[in-house]
């Protein structure tokens, strides 16, 4: 009873399985990640002091140990599933074209824009770092009217700063524009 297939005439052609004919070997990476997480959780749990008391007979360790073990088991079962030809269906969406291959350049650019904002938000303030974030993300995603994008970015950053930080008292740093805004 797979419910993901619409009963009749799906509006878009059904996405072809990404795996194609061969197996989707990249899934082993996910298994490795699960196993790594399991090892990490186990190592951390064993390093935790086993502080038990009459108030708390089991202490902080058993749950992480259980989860770590389950993660290792999940990694193995997952790998077996992949080896037997199982594959997860990549998620669709309104703006997602599942037939295309992954555009790593755009992904990396968006991630960098995001990281830059995290670095700049405190020294420069939200208005500047947020504008840069919006502009560079839009650029990475294909916006080419640079001036318009910049105007939208600055307008959005200023509106949110005044609306949220000053209007609603949300924590947003003013940075170097402290006193000017």
């Amino acid at each position: 009873m797979t419910m993901s297939q619409p009963p009749a005439g799906s509006p878009e052609q059904a996405p072809p399985p990404v795996s194609g004919r061969g197996r989707d070997r990249a899934q082993y990476g996910m298994c490795a990640f699960l196993a790594l997480a399991g090892v990490l959780v186990l190592a951390d749990a064993l390093g935790t002091g086993s502080a038990t008391s009459s108030n708390d007979p089991i202490g902080p360790r058993p749950v992480p140990i259980l989860l770590g073990a389950l993660l290792l088991i999940a990694a193995v079962v997952y790998a077996i599933d992949v080896a037997r030809g199982g594959s997860g269906e990549p998620e669709g969406g309104e703006d997602v074209d599942p037939t295309s291959s992954i555009d790593w350049r755009t992904v990396v650019l968006v991630a960098i824009a995001f990281g830059v904002n995290a670095v700049l938000i405190e020294p420069l303030g939200w208005v500047i770092s947020g504008s840069i974030l919006f502009w560079s993300t839009a650029f990475a995603l294909g916006a080419r009217r640079h001036l318009l994008t910049a105007v939208v970015a600055v307008a959005l950053a200023l509106t949110t700063f005044y609306g949220f930080a000053i209007g609603l008292g949300v924590n947003l740093p003013a940075g170097i524009l402290q006193g000017i805004l």
């Binding site: 797979t2 009963p7 509006p11 997480a37 703006d95 599942p98 995001f114 919006f134 995603l141 949300v170």
Partner: protein, 508 residues
């Protein structure tokens, strides 16, 4: 019962002030506008709009949530009718018939039957919520720690194994969520767990940061990887209206859809996918025009859309009564409760009764507002679908960063957000469902606390984990769900040997 009614009336009294009505109006408008935007489901709508409520007092914040909650649902159906791809699995069915209707020039009727159907389902669903929540609380109030642990484990198993197409992927997502929930200082013993000696992790990872990271940042990265370069086609729409014939064909599907959707929402393994598909199948069977299905049958929009909304109302019952979220939106709302220091569960109705009844009253008010807003504003909402995609997703990242930073005012959270976004990206790539992870993050710490409480009561004896009859029944259900693939194979083998029919296709 009478008492509940008078409290509900009090709730209406709280919301019917000009200021609170304005808050509700902002909630439904912004909720619909954001819900309409492609790529944003109702859970992400609630997560992204959380910062809007930071400056408000709890009552007003929850009035706004109620509006955002229903508004996001309405908005989603507009998107799936006017664009030809659904954003959420629960609106897949609406997209099939709704988009066909829109293409044959009946967009106005499709939107109208969806909006009115959602209103009817929301109204009946909220009424049922009023009736059933106190009953569930009365049942839950006598439950002990082991029973809660059992119910939470049922929640874990249900969201991982029943929803979605692959159990191992569901459980993997759940385990990742549980591990994220583990991070921080253990509340009982004060021991740090998985904090990597980072002081910022001592308080744990905020659920809002997880939700925004997985939903908003993960979605943006995923869209960045696969952006449709050709512009999507938006079908122009006029004023929604229904002719006499459309009314006659719609009202029964609305009621049947509501009847299917609500119980599924209440059940721990509910979700909206199954009832929408069931409603579609039911309407197709009962219709006098089965040949129109697949070509734009109005019943195929009316029924599933009502089921979707009624199920959303139903999910609020276990969320309010037990503190158990059964879909992503409820999970994010639960997280929002926690940011106000409010712990949903059976005591919520007595401890915070004003808040709960005001929330429920604002569901009624918001639902009515949406009906009045949505019919005339549909052409305006449709225009939102034309937003250039680079701006749309840049905006999502922008608001996601702002919201996540505002939680604790530390840049560290932004790096965390990016890491979680990359995890969300990988999960989308490999078809790992997102809901089990979110449920794991929220319920994991609660489940551990209940388990340790149970063991404390039994003095460390493991039998303390098994409580009374309730937990026996719940564990029996868990066992059936876990053993289901084996059971089904066994049953279908017997079936085949008897009738010679082919067995069901096994699931991975």
């Amino acid at each position: 019962m009478i008492n509940d009614l008078s409290q509900l009336l009090d709730g209406f009294g709280h919301i019917l002030t000009p200021m609170n009505l304005l808050v509700a109006l902002i909630g439904v408008t912004v909720g619909t506008a954001v819900g309409v935007l492609p790529g944003i489901g109702s859970a992400m709508t609630v997560a992204l709009l959380l910062p809007l409520t930071y400056g408000l007092e709890p009552t007003q914040a929850f009035i706004m949530f109620a509006g955002i909650f229903y508004g996001g649902m309405y908005g989603g159906s507009t998107t799936s009718i006017l664009l030809n791809t659904p954003g959420e699995s629960s609106s897949v069915v609406t997209a099939i018939e709704g988009n066909k209707m829109a293409r044959s020039g009946r967009a106005a009727q499709a939107l109208a039957t969806a909006a009115i159907g959602s209103f009817v389902a929301g109204l009946i669903g909220t009424l049922l919520l009023v009736l059933i929540t106190p009953m569930m609380v009365a049942f839950a109030i006598d439950l002990g720690a082991p029973d809660y642990l059992a119910i939470m484990i049922l929640g874990f198993v249900a969201v991982s194994a029943v929803l979605g197409s692959s159990r191992v992927r569901g459980f993997s997502a759940l385990l990742l969520g549980l591990v994220i929930g583990l991070v921080g200082i253990d509340k009982v013993t004060g021991q740090p767990r998985l904090t990597m000696d980072l002081p910022q992790l001592a308080d744990g990872i905020d659920v809002i940061v997880v939700a925004v990271g997985i939903f908003a940042v993960g979605e943006t990265l995923w869209v960045a990887a696969h952006l449709r370069r050709r512009p999507t086609e938006v079908i122009p729409v006029g004023q929604p209206w229904l002719g006499r014939d459309d009314w006659r064909r719609s009202w029964k599907p609305w009621l049947r859809g509501t009847g299917l959707g609500f119980p599924f929402g209440v059940m721990p393994a509910g979700g909206a996918e199954l009832p929408t598909f069931l409603s579609y199948a039911l309407e197709k069977r009962l219709s006098k025009h089965p040949e129109q299905f697949g070509k734009g049958a109005i019943e195929g929009v009316a029924g599933p859309e009502a089921a979707n909304n009624a199920s959303a109302a139903g999910t609020l019952v276990p969320m309010l009564a037990l503190g158990l979220p059964t879909n992503a939106t409820a999970a994010v709302m639960l997280a929002a409760f926690q940011t106000y220091g409010i712990q949903p569960g059976p005591l919520l109705l007595t401890r915070e009764s004003t808040l709960v009844w005001t929330l429920i009253a604002s569901l009624f008010v918001g639902n009515l507002m949406l009906l009045l807003l949505n019919l005339p504003l549909a052409p305006a909402w449709a225009r939102l679908l034309r937003i250039p995609r680079p701006y749309l997703y840049a905006g999502i990242v922008f608001f996601a960063s702002m919201g996540a930073y505002a939680v604790n005012a530390q840049p560290f959270d932004l790096f965390l957000l990016l890491t979680l976004g990359l995890l969300g990206f990988a999960m989308r790539r490999f078809g790992l469902p997102v809901l089990p992870l979110i449920v794991g993050v929220i319920l994991g710490p609660m489940a551990e606390r209940q388990g340790r409480m149970a063991l404390q009561l039994s003095g460390g004896d493991l039998s303390g984990l098994l409580g009374g009859p309730v937990s026996y029944v719940v564990y029996a259900i868990v066992a059936v769900i876990l053993a289901w693939p084996l059971l089904r194979r066994f049953l279908s083998v017997r079936d085949r040997s008897r009738s010679g029919s082919t067995p069901a296709v096994p699931r991975p």
